[in-house]
């Protein structure tokens, strides 16, 4: 995570985020670790994404892990913030990857990622291409479509029915993978706000010590999730 010069540092809120009173009911509430709420997601200023891109990312995350039904959605858990910070960091610029040419982006997919573009560049080029497809096919920008049409559009993207340049063919799989990563990664990366995704599935996070629990078969583990910074759900 890098602080971008000239912008207010976000490190402060990301590192020490807040705990939820709602999920602390399993524990003695006085033990929960609270540092106050973050400003609403709508007020977040993206580090990497432009305003147009951000509207798409917010709307797409909201369909990939929607608020409806059991469990928190991607917006409630601030998944778009996670994706934005990943794009600004070493994942976004593929800094660990072998990026030398020649490139054969239309190669047999079994041979793996072959685009000359980094993930951040792929988001940058694929979002407008997909938006154009949404305009032509569904008559509006993705974020303005109704939920059912958004789901249809994302399904077309996933199935490869949206004609994207071969350099961009991994766009949907990055988007989906990054969305799930943001939902389930430690909150220090900006998503999984208040450990809500962990609390929802019953993953205790960074507890990492279960000696006397191994042989308690088929029983419910009692402690709520814990983050690396010590925040508890």
């Amino acid at each position: 995570m890098t602080d971008i010069p000239g912008r207010v540092s976000r490190r402060g809120f990301l590192m020490g985020s807040a705990a939820s009173a709602a999920y602390a009911t399993l524990m003695n509430p006085s033990l929960s670790y609270a540092q106050g709420e973050l400003p609403p997601l709508e007020e977040y200023e993206p580090v990497y994404f432009t305003a147009d891109e951000w509207r798409f990312v917010m709307a797409a995350c909201d369909r990939l892990i929607p608020a409806e039904g059991d469990g928190p959605g991607a917006l409630e858990t601030r998944v778009p913030v996670f994706i934005d910070l990943q794009m600004a960091g070493s994942f976004g610029d593929a800094s660990d990857w072998y990026m030398a040419g020649p490139h054969q982006p239309d190669a047999d997919p079994l041979l793996g990622f072959q685009s000359p573009l980094t993930p951040a560049q792929i988001y940058r080029q694929a979002i407008p291409a997909f938006q154009e497809w949404c305009q032509t096919t569904h008559g509006d920008a993705f974020e303005n479509l109704d939920s059912a049409t958004k789901d249809k559009a994302l399904t077309s993207l996933q199935k490869g029915d949206v004609a994207l340049a071969p350099e961009l063919r991994d766009f949907f799989s990055f988007l989906l993978q990054n969305t799930k990563e943001g939902y389930f990664a430690d909150p220090k990366y900006g998503g999984n706000y208040q450990l809500k995704a962990w609390a929802y599935i019953g993953f205790p996070g960074a507890r990492a010590a279960y000696t006397e629990w191994v042989t308690r078969h088929n029983q419910t583990y009692p402690l709520p999730a814990l983050s690396i910074s010590g925040e508890r759900a």
């Binding site: 409806e68 959605g73 030398a100 079994l110 041979l111 996933q158 969305t179 279960y210 583990y221």
Partner: protein, 590 residues
């Protein structure tokens, strides 16, 4: 060209992972001046594996924080000799290590001995079933050592690592509760088995009803406090669930750090350098010995020539083969003629599994260790009639799990959409209710599965990357389909609400994207004939007698087990040959 030459050492060790650490310790006891060169960074339990920083799934489990960075070193892959190989641009199918400890810090710890027949597979098949059952193009060989010869070295390895397990055969006597199909061993494991998780127990109960023989999978996760022969101490594992892909926070997983390095670092005749990437093994003018190595000193940008009398190649199987090819040690293998040896017989691991979902069971998936589980060897290589089944090979089968890290390890039942409300609700409903039964199987070697230098792609120093030519073959697909049948039978008897299998099937091609295993073997294989092997039975280069090549690159074909048991035993075996024989009279040992 080297910009600096350093003072000569008796021994230079290339890579400080499992095999480099074992060799370092054994030869340090001879009083030799030893230098280990490690390309990656230094790593210690504190601060690198310390709680809570290491309990970070994204950083280590998903972004591969401890592993080889393709930007610095990778290879290219293709399915056959007609195809153009393309770079393995980010990690997926296998995860080589990087830094002190190598992949030995972030392995699971399944620590097996091979079966006797696996070490003499070609002879066994010919004697038992006839040479004509070996399919066209399959190129299996004998290793040149026997299980009986290796037994004392396995014993040393297991006692060094503090393995938790239960013997199945002590000096020919079958032990209740152990693996009855294992080769005879001199004594039991140093530590008792780990406690079983719920899924392991359920699998074992079901397997017993079929007449199978479940036993605890041998684990390099300590079940109690233990001190090894070097005075290194392990504490009992706490089932943290962040084991494979992570360094152990608890001094419980056997690794070079927990079992060897702190003791080795105290020896005045041993030293090591990090950020020192060996580029080439240099040969003497007559080509019969090596004079030392040239390495890239990342801190200064220098290319350094390090002279040494003995060169030990311990850089992990794939890197070992790459270095030999770049150094011109041994003739490169040519699949068209079958001549040459370096790169010959690359093979991998054939794995598959069945997931079982139970509405009313809670497996607490986050409670796990790298190796806990109950296995059966009833369908192992020695137990299968190859002629009748129509394939050569076998698998061990395990019920158990290593952790419940949600990005990597959460799975949903078949038919669940991959996103949307359906995915989210299934994730919540089934996270704790899933278990799996896995098959870990052999992979034979073939004439057209091999390693050579890539004609197009280069590394950051401008040297050719290595090229892997590999695909799945019918023989191994038949084997895994056989295991699927056996596993599904047991799985169904357990009455899960839902079930899903993932096994290679007819037409499956090698896919570099999903993780399969870091069990890349072959390419610098051992044997007793220099025409078909790179190293002799003491892991000594046929070409340069002061070069020894460790690791799974020595395997003529893959066994059905994880590789570190045999490669660790072979490291002790080679160390013994060097100590007892080679040092007195340096020469080809065969």
């Amino acid at each position: 060209m080297a910009t600096r030459t350093d003072p000569k050492k008796d021994v230079v060790i290339l890579g400080l992972g499992w095999t480099g650490s074992i060799l370092g310790m054994e030869l340090a006891q001879e009083g030799l001046e030893i230098l280990a060169l490690e390309r990656g960074e230094d790593r210690n339990t504190v601060p690198d594996f310390q709680y809570p920083g290491v309990i970070d799934e994204l950083k280590y489990g998903i972004r591969y924080g401890f592993m080889q960075k393709p930007t610095k070193m990778t290879l290219t892959v293709r399915h056959n000799t007609e195809q153009t190989a393309l770079p393995y641009r980010h990690l997926g199918s296998f995860l080589p290590g990087d830094g002190v400890g190598g992949a030995g810090i972030h392995w699971n710890g399944h620590t097996w001995r091979t079966q006797d027949v696996e070490l003499r597979l070609k002879s066994y098949v010919e004697e038992t079933f006839g040479a004509d059952i070996i399919p066209e193009g399959m190129q299996i060989q004998d290793w040149g050592v026997t299980q009986e010869e290796l037994e004392p070295y396995y014993d040393r390895l297991e006692y060094m690592m503090g393995i938790s397990g239960k013997a199945g055969n002590i000096n020919g006597e079958i032990q209740e509760g152990g693996n009855p199909f294992e080769a005879p061993r001199a004594r039991d494991y140093p530590n008792p088995p780990l406690d079983n998780t719920y899924d392991a127990e359920l699998f074992a109960d079901a397997a017993r009803k079929f007449g199978y023989h479940p036993f605890p999978r041998p684990a390099a996760n300590a079940s109690r406090a233990y001190t090894n022969e070097y005075g290194m101490q392990l504490g009992p594992c706490n089932y943290c669930g962040f084991c494979e892909r992570f360094g152990c926070l608890n001094y419980s997983k056997a690794s070079p750090q927990t079992c060897i390095l702190d003791a080795l670092k105290q020896k005045p005749n041993f030293s090591y350098k990090t950020h020192a990437e060996v580029l080439k093994i240099e040969k003497a003018a007559d080509g019969k010995t090596a004079t030392g190595v040239t390495y890239f000193d990342e801190k200064t940008g220098d290319e350094v020539f390090q002279p040494a009398d003995l060169v030990l190649v311990c850089t992990y199987s794939l890197n070992n083969v790459h270095l030999l090819l770049l150094s011109g040690i041994g003739q490169p293998y040519d699949p068209a003629t079958g001549e040459g040896v370096v790169g010959r017989n690359y093979s991998y691991q054939m794995t598959g599994g069945t997931a079982l979902f139970f509405k009313d069971k809670n497996f607490n998936p986050f409670i796990g260790t790298g190796s806990v589980g109950m296995s059966i060897d009833d369908f192992s290589i020695s137990q299968i009639d190859f002629a009748e089944e129509g394939f050569i090979g076998g698998s061990y089968i395990t019920g158990g799990h290593t952790g419940g890290r949600p990005i990597q390890q959460l799975s949903t039942p078949p038919g669940t959409p991959s996103w949307g409300q359906g995915w989210k609700e299934a994730a919540g409903q089934w996270y704790a209710c899933k278990m799996s039964i896995g098959s870990h199987g052999s992979n034979m070697s073939y004439r057209d599965c091999y390693l050579d230098l890539d004609p197009t792609y280069t590394d950051r120093h401008g040297r050719p990357l290595m090229r892997m030519t590999f695909n799945w073959k019918d023989n191994d697909i038949k084997m895994t389909q056989f295991m699927k049948g056996k596993i599904e039978e047991v799985a169904k008897s357990m009455n899960p609400d839902k079930m899903a299998s993932g096994f290679k099937h007819d037409g499956s091609q090698y896919d570099v994207r999903p993780y399969q295993s870091t069990h890349n073997v072959g390419g610098a294989i051992m044997g007793t004939d220099p025409k078909t092997s790179v190293i002799n039975r003491y892991l000594q280069s046929w070409d340069c007698h002061n070069v020894f090549v460790m690791g799974a690159s020595a395997y003529p074909q893959n066994t059905q087990y994880n590789p570190t048991g045999p490669l660790g035993a072979l490291a002790y075996w080679a160390a013994d040959a060097i100590r007892k024989d080679y040092l007195k009279n340096p020469r080809p040992l065969m």
